[in-house]
Structure formats: C-alpha cells, structure tokens
C-alpha cells in the first residue's frame, strides 16, 4: 500500500510541474518536415505501454470477499500491479488490408505473478470502393448508441460500464457493409450483415456450439437522426430484435436510446439453495440517455438502463443468503463445497458487469478547467435502482506531454447488506494509470 501511495504522490507532484519553455513568441515550421510526416506508408505499427497499480480496500463482511478469500488472510487492503503492452498494426495493398490489435499483460497480485497475451482483433479487409467493405477474421462489431450500457450489441462482448471506452475482445466473424447516400430527408442508408460461427474451439464463449449465426443492422440517417434496426438469429443464442436512435436536439444537447426484444429468452433465477433455474420468457431491454455540454465545457451524460433479463431482488437475496450459509458451514465444518458452487455462480449470471434489472449511469466531466490544457477532471456514478446501492468514481485525466496520459481514479462503493455494491469484494479502490503511446 505504501508503494502505491508514494507512486501516486510522486505522480501528482509531477502533474503540475512547470515545463521548460520550448519556444519563443514566434513559432517556426519547416514545410518539408510536415510533408515527410504526412507521407503515406503501406504499413503502420503503434500502441501503448501501460503501468497501472491498484489499491483495493477490502470489505471482509461482503459475499464476494467470502467467496474469494474464505481460506486466506489478506488483511484490509490488497495491492495489484498491472502492466500492459498494446500493439496495433496494419498493412495495406490495393483494396486489401490486414489489421491486428493485441494485448500482452503482466501483473502481480495476491496470487503472485501472472500474465497473458490476447489477440483482441485480427482480420482481413477488402474495400473496393467507399460504398462497400468486406471484413473477415477476429473483429469487434459494436452496435448501439449507449455510452455505458448496450442492449442491441448482438455480436460483441459487453463493454465494462466502469470503463466503456476501453476495447473489448472481438469474435471470429465475417461482416459486410453496403452504404448508399441520398438527397432529401434520408441522407444515408447502410446495410451490415454478419455471419458468426460457433464451434467448440471458435467463439465458444458466445453460445451453443456447432452453429452458424446471422445478424444484420440497417442504418439510416433520417431527418438528422441516426436510426438502426437490428436483428440476430441462430441456434447459439435466441433470436432478438433491436432498434436504436441518436439525435442532436441542439448544438450542445444530444439524446439516444436503444430497445431490444428477446422472445423465448432463457431467463435465469437463483433459489435459496444456490441452484440456477432457467425459464423461457419474452424479455425487453432498453436504455435512454442524454449528453449535455455547458458553455464552460462541462459534459453531463445520463443513462437509464433496464435489463428485463436481469436478476431481481429476490434472486439477489437468495444468492447472498446462500453465500452466508455456505460460509458459516465452512467455518463450522471446513466444508467449502457451498462456497465453491457460489464461486461458479459468480462466474456466470451474477458475475456479469451489471447483473440486475435497473441501473442509472451519471457522468460529469469538465474539459480543461481554469485554462489547464489537456486536463479533464470527472466523476461518474452507477446506481443500482433496485437495491439503491451505488459506486462513485472521481477521476483526473491529464496529458502532461505529447503521448503521455495519466489517469488517477478512486472508486467508493456504497450499499447495505444484500445489495449489489454492499456485497462487492471492495469498499473502495484507488487506481493510477500511466500510458505512453508510440508509433
């Protein structure tokens, strides 16, 4: 903990250090130098190097603490040191192009050193003209207008509402894109079909194996409003239909929304013995959001998310009650089978980013306050409307020099017993992220 606090202190001190003057009143530039910089090359390679120490303040009475640390003595805090190398590259020749994005991670935590390498995306693209593109390989196909949440993201992994601008890992698929522009109120029409195979070794996390699934999106820019009609069918997951929209009401005010209808969805519930039940049910998911920019450059984002497939309060009570009883059994008999089953459950339905029914997301950020360029303080909160528990995360983002980005975050989790944030493993979290971009 001391190490992280010293590191954070040094970073904050460096944050506001005056930098030496690099130029006088008059600037100079060399046009031939700029022309060299803009020269097009057939290949590109870049990415970033990241160091991210995290301090967790543990809640030793919480359900998730008991599941994870029932047989360990970790004290009141945990440290984790994460490092990551992101590499992105491309090669273009004629109408064809190859692209990849990969992460190589190494971290040190309470279980010691560990690491992995993940190919986030790697695909071949054919772009014969601006009106048509065909891409095949491992690729992220993000659908929907939501900022923190999404209900119509039918062929992508869910994004993390605590870090929605971070990329997710793609699926192996083939996607085409036809675009047509018009005059009049309908300015653009675009059709995007997707084929997504699932086998025991490809996209196996998507759903039932040995099927080829089909999804499609029809986009239109109609009366200055983005509108998408979306569809997914296949035997790996149930059929689903979606609609989303986004529109600027004024130059500083935008609204967006998403609706998804999932007939015959396998809806899950948990009983008091920790058993998972599934039942066919027609499910509606939706979100509504807005983005507002003030004259002094503060941005407010508000999003309400309803997940009709989510767990209700009864399911949550059953799960937390089951964990408490399993922990008591472990303390009295040493039998951890109940806690092991709870751990399995927590990897599934209960372990998804936001497992319950209704959430409210709020974010306020202030771009370059007090004439401090490249500095953005922000705070965001995710509120579980059903059990009234929440997280509050203040954040400072600063780019002190070109390609160096510093982000300091602290998250506080607030909630009573048997509530989502009250039963999380942590009471609070402090995280520093240092990124250096290169190409």
């Amino acid at each position: 903990m001391k190490g992280i606090l010293i590191l954070t202190g040094v970073t904050l001190w460096a944050w506001f250090l005056p930098f030496p003057a690099l130029s006088e009143d008059e600037y100079t530039f060399d046009l031939s130098e700029i022309e060299n910089e803009i020269e097009k090359k057939p290949y590109s390679l870049g990415g970033f190097l990241e160091f991210r120490p995290v301090l967790f303040g543990l809640d030793r009475d919480s359900a998730f603490y008991k599941i994870k640390f029932y047989d360990k003595e970790e004290g009141s805090t945990l440290e984790q040191y994460n490092s990551r190398l992101r590499l992105e590259g491309s090669y273009h020749k004629g109408i064809a192009g190859l692209f990849f994005r990969a992460d190589s991670s190494l971290w040190y935590g309470y279980e010691g050193w560990d690491g992995d390498i993940t190919l986030l995306e790697g695909y071949l693209a054919l772009k014969p003209n601006p009106g048509f593109a065909l891409e095949a390989g491992k690729k992220v196909v993000q659908w929907g207008k939501g900022y923190a949440f999404s209900t119509v993201n039918f062929v992508s992994r869910p994004k993390d509402p605590d870090d929605p601008t971070e990329p997710v890992e793609g699926y192996y698929l083939a996607v085409a894109d036809w675009i047509k522009s018009f005059g009049g109120p309908l300015k653009t029409l675009a059709f995007t079909p997707v084929l997504l195979p699932v086998t025991k070794s490809i996209n196996e996390q998507f759903g039932e194996p040995d099927h080829i699934n089909f999804a499609a999106k029809l986009y239109g820019l109609l009366w200055d409003t983005d509108i998408d009609l979306l569809f997914f069918t296949g035997k790996s997951r149930t059929t689903r239909y979606g609609l989303d929209f986004a529109r600027n009401i004024a130059s500083n005010f935008a609204v967006h929304g998403e609706f998804a209808w999932l007939p015959g969805f396998d809806k899950r519930s948990v009983d008091s013995e920790g058993n998972l039940h599934t039942e066919k049910s027609d499910v509606l998911k939706y979100l509504l959001g807005l983005r507002y920019l003030t004259t002094n450059d503060m941005t407010f984002i508000l999003e309400y998310y309803h997940n009709g497939a989510g767990l209700d309060e009864n399911d949550a009570d059953n799960f937390y009650g089951f964990v408490d009883r399993a922990y008591d059994t472990y303390l009295s008999t040493g039998n951890s089978s109940g806690l092991d089953r709870a751990a399995q459950l927590s990897q599934g339905s209960i372990g998804t980013f936001k497992p319950m029914r209704d959430y409210l997301y709020f974010r306020a950020s202030w771009n370059e306050p007090f004439d401090i360029l490249y500095f953005t303080p922000a705070v965001f909160s995710i509120i579980n409307v059903n059990d009234r528990s929440l997280s509050i995360t203040p954040e400072l983002l600063y780019n002190p020099i070109t390609n160096l980005q510093l982000r300091l975050r602290g998250a506080i989790l607030v909630g009573g017993n048997d509530s989502e944030y009250g039963e999380k493993q942590n009471d609070y979290k402090v995280e520093l992220r240092v990124r250096y971009y290169f190409d």
């Binding site: 530039f29 022309e35 910089e37 273009h92 929907g144 522009s181 390609n403 971009y437």
Partner: protein, 234 residues
Amino acid sequence: MAMMFSAPVYAIDGDLLLKKVDRNLNPEAYESYRKLINIEPDGRKREFILFTVKKGQDRVASLFLSPASENGRSTLRLGENMWLYIPNVGKPIRITSIQSVVGGVFNNSDILRLDYAAEYKVTKVEESKDEYLLHLKARTKAVAYDKLKMWVNKGDLLPTRVECLTEANMLIKTLYLKKVRDFGEGIVRPSVIETDSPLYKGYRSIMIFAKIKERDLPDEAFTLNFLPRVKSLR
C-alpha cells in the same frame, strides 16, 4: 491598427462576395493535410496532423495522423451533425460543434469548417481603400458562433482576419489568416491561420496547411458507416 471603413455599401451583394471568398479559400470538394499547433503561455507546444476531405457545402471528414495517442481518431460533419470515431471505442459517437477534440483554442467547427456561406448570411458590408468588412450572422442557432466580422482583402478576395462573436457581441476568438501560398491547380490561399482568444489568455493555436488539392469523392465517403475507414481515402 485602426482601419477607417466607410458607411455600409449597398451596391455590393454581400452573400455573393462571401461565396467568392469561400471558393478562393478552397475548392468545393478537396483533400488537405494540416498541422495544428497549440502554444501555451509558457511556450509548451502540442502538435497534431490532420487529413481532411470535404464535399459540397456541408460535408467534411477528418482523420488524425499524429500524435500516436490520437492516431486513427476521425470526425465527420454533415451540416450541424458531428460524430467522433475513436478506434478503441469501436463505434462513432455524436459530438457537438462547440467542443474541441484537440484541446486549445480551435474547436470542432474551426477544424471541420464548412463553407462560410453555408452557415452565415451577410448582414452588412463596409468598405475601406484596401478591404471589405463583412458582418455575418449565423443562419441557425446550431452554428458555433452567432456572428462573425470578416476583413477581406480587396485585391485577392481572401480574408485576413475573422472575429468570432456571441449574440451579445462578446469576442470569443480571432482568426488571423496569413502567408498566402500557391498550392497549385489554381489554389492560392493563406497557408497559416493563427488564433487567440480572450477566453484563453496567453494561449495561441496555429493551423498550417501543408497540402490542399481538388478531389471529388463519392457521397458514401461522408457517412457514419464509412467513418472508421476514412484512412483508406489517403
């Protein structure tokens, strides 16, 4: 330096003059490479390189080529609709014209500038020996600046200075257009735009045109679906 302007000139068609200024600044359809430099009061500099394509009066797309932290970010403007695509996020999001994707004094509407005549009508023209002074008023409330005052050189009909004002005549920023250069194919225009603002005291931003040439692209290149692929136009 004070410049004496005569009474309003009613014989000159201000809107026609503005359209000539637009065509002198750039062809209606073009591609360009620009460097943006933000200079802070202590002399620190931050540089960005942008590739931009424009078609018609109100369609512009831009792509950041550097620095590495911004590489691949692209923006699209269709009239007052604006979107930003960040490769990490993987989908375009709507943005507003008055915010800035690069920080500093230039905002999105300066970087993704449409033809002046598409956004403004001329309310008054004043004339001195060497210059016209055009008073412009935004056609809609969605335009980033409600009023502009534009000083135009009579000889080449190129602007030399533009003041951006609020509805209450408060000065937001001033653009200084300098160093007229021949870019070839008949394009002769200022190669440097400097800006300062009373709202950012001591800060300056500079836009340098490295290349600009006429280029007509299909309409589909200015669509939301194409935004992640703007790089393929280079």
